[in-house]
């Protein structure tokens, strides 16, 4: 893997449950993001709503004015279910790309198969390598907060995807880019407290 030829295997073992590295805590109420999607010269915006429900996550995309575009549920192991999608968007290629991207964003480390830990030589950053049937994921860790700061997924039959996370303990900003497709999803966390109580 040319992206990571600068690492050495690490003897570390994964401390704790792999899901504890996710930015989306199962015990959290909800997450709301202002979202921008760029595809070639097109751009559209809306709100992305994420709610943990048991072991899964419900993710809805809604326009600023309240119209629901899609409603999906995400389980571990890259599985997801479409609860609702506006008819014209309900095409396999679009749904699969969006679903796979959002699944990666929620579940960073693949569920089954071997997990390898390594250290990048240059900066000494911890990288967790995991695999599932869709490809290989490399998660560069921020060890101060035990969260993934960058995720790269490669696969034979799927697009190469990069996800950058930033925030202190909560996900303030997430950027999803594709290497061989001009598709970019930018999420900025919304802080709702001020608007929660209508006057």
């Amino acid at each position: 893997m040319s992206l990571f030829n600068n690492f050495q295997p690490s003897e570390l073992t994964l401390p704790g449950d792999k899901d504890s590295y996710s930015w989306f805590r199962q015990d959290a109420g909800r997450y709301l993001f202002q979202s921008t999607i760029d595809i070639y010269k097109n751009n559209f915006t809306g709100l992305l709503f994420v709610k943990p429900v048991g072991d899964s996550y419900r993710v809805l995309f809604i326009t600023e004015m309240g119209i629901k575009i899609f409603d999906m549920e995400f389980f571990g192991d890259s599985d997801f279910k479409v609860h609702y999608c506006i008819e014209d968007l309900n095409r396999k290629a679009v749904i699969n790309t969006l679903g796979n991207d959002l699944s990666l964003m929620l579940f960073n480390i693949a569920g089954k198969g071997k997990i390898k830990m390594m250290r990048e030589k240059k900066e000494g950053k911890l990288i967790i390598k995991s695999k599932d049937r869709f490809g290989t994921r490399y998660c560069t860790m921020n060890e101060h907060i035990n969260k993934v700061e960058e995720l790269i997924k490669t696969g034979t039959f799927s697009n190469k995807v990069n996800i950058k996370f930033s925030g202190l303990a909560e996900p303030d900003s997430i950027i999803i880019t594709h290497y061989n497709l001009k598709l970019k999803i930018q999420l900025t966390r919304l802080h709702e407290l001020a608007a929660k109580i209508p006057e």
């Binding site: 595809i39 915006t45 709503f49 809604i62 600023e64 309240g66 014209d88 608007a195």
Partner: protein
């Protein structure tokens, strides 16, 4: 994964997304109150006459709004707030302030949108959907929204303080996104006090208009694209 297919699909999605915003926009100028006992409207033609009189005498409207998006299955609500301005002939400013900023302006045959990162300008004449919407909006303000029985069937109700009109889109495709639009009019001044867009399934969006000021002097700069 076929990249080209995705691009084509997303181009389509972009168009749809724009159309969806339009559908939502259609209903901006109309607007709901707490549940009150409803009965069929006693005198529909009187209501229509009053509405027409009101629209003729209205040069401008300025108000605040609260939008509540109810996700019924998830027992969640997303609340956003903002301000709304209308000035004759056909200038509209619809601005979300909390918890996100998003601005829509319609003026001089163009539609402008802006958020923190992007701004976009559309020519209303270039798009049939925009034309329809524009006709619809000015129809609302001029009071003949309820004459459009080609696209919507209407049901009329009233409570002690409000008139309620339920619009049901005739077109199947439209109904998949928007089952019904409910518009509440204040009985005193016939201004729109609320709006409810019911989606297929149980989810809905409710917009309540408050602090309404009629015929104040709104500077035209409020409707410039910046």
């Amino acid at each position: 994964m076929n990249g080209l297919t995705i691009i084509l699909e997303l181009k389509l999605m972009n168009r749809i997304n724009r159309n969806i915003s339009l559908i939502a926009l259609l209903t901006i100028t109309v607007g709901m109150q707490a549940q009150e006992a409803l009965k069929p409207m006693a005198d529909i033609s009187l209501f229509k006459t009053k509405l027409e009189t009101m629209s003729k005498s209205t040069q401008s409207i300025a108000c605040d709004f609260v939008q509540e998006k109810e996700l019924v299955v998830l027992s969640e609500k997303i609340v956003s707030k903002g301000v709304f301005f209308f000035k004759k002939e056909n200038n509209i400013r619809w601005e979300y302030i909390q918890p996100y900023r998003y601005l829509i302006i319609i003026s001089n045959g163009q539609l402008f949108t802006r958020d923190d990162k992007n701004q976009k300008l559309y020519d209303i004449e270039s798009n049939k959907m925009f034309q329809e919407m524009n006709k619809f909006i000015s129809g609302c303000i001029q009071g003949d929204i309820l004459k459009n029985d080609k696209d919507y069937s209407a049901e009329y109700f009233e409570s002690s303080g409000n008139y309620l009109v339920k619009l049901i889109p005739r077109e199947e495709k439209m109904r998949q996104m928007l089952n019904e639009v409910h518009i509440w009019f204040d009985k005193n001044d016939l201004t729109v006090s609320g709006l409810k867009m019911v989606e297929s399934g149980e989810d809905y969006t409710k917009i309540t208009f408050t602090n309404k000021k009629l015929n104040t002097d709104i500077p035209i700069e409020k409707f410039s694209f910046k």
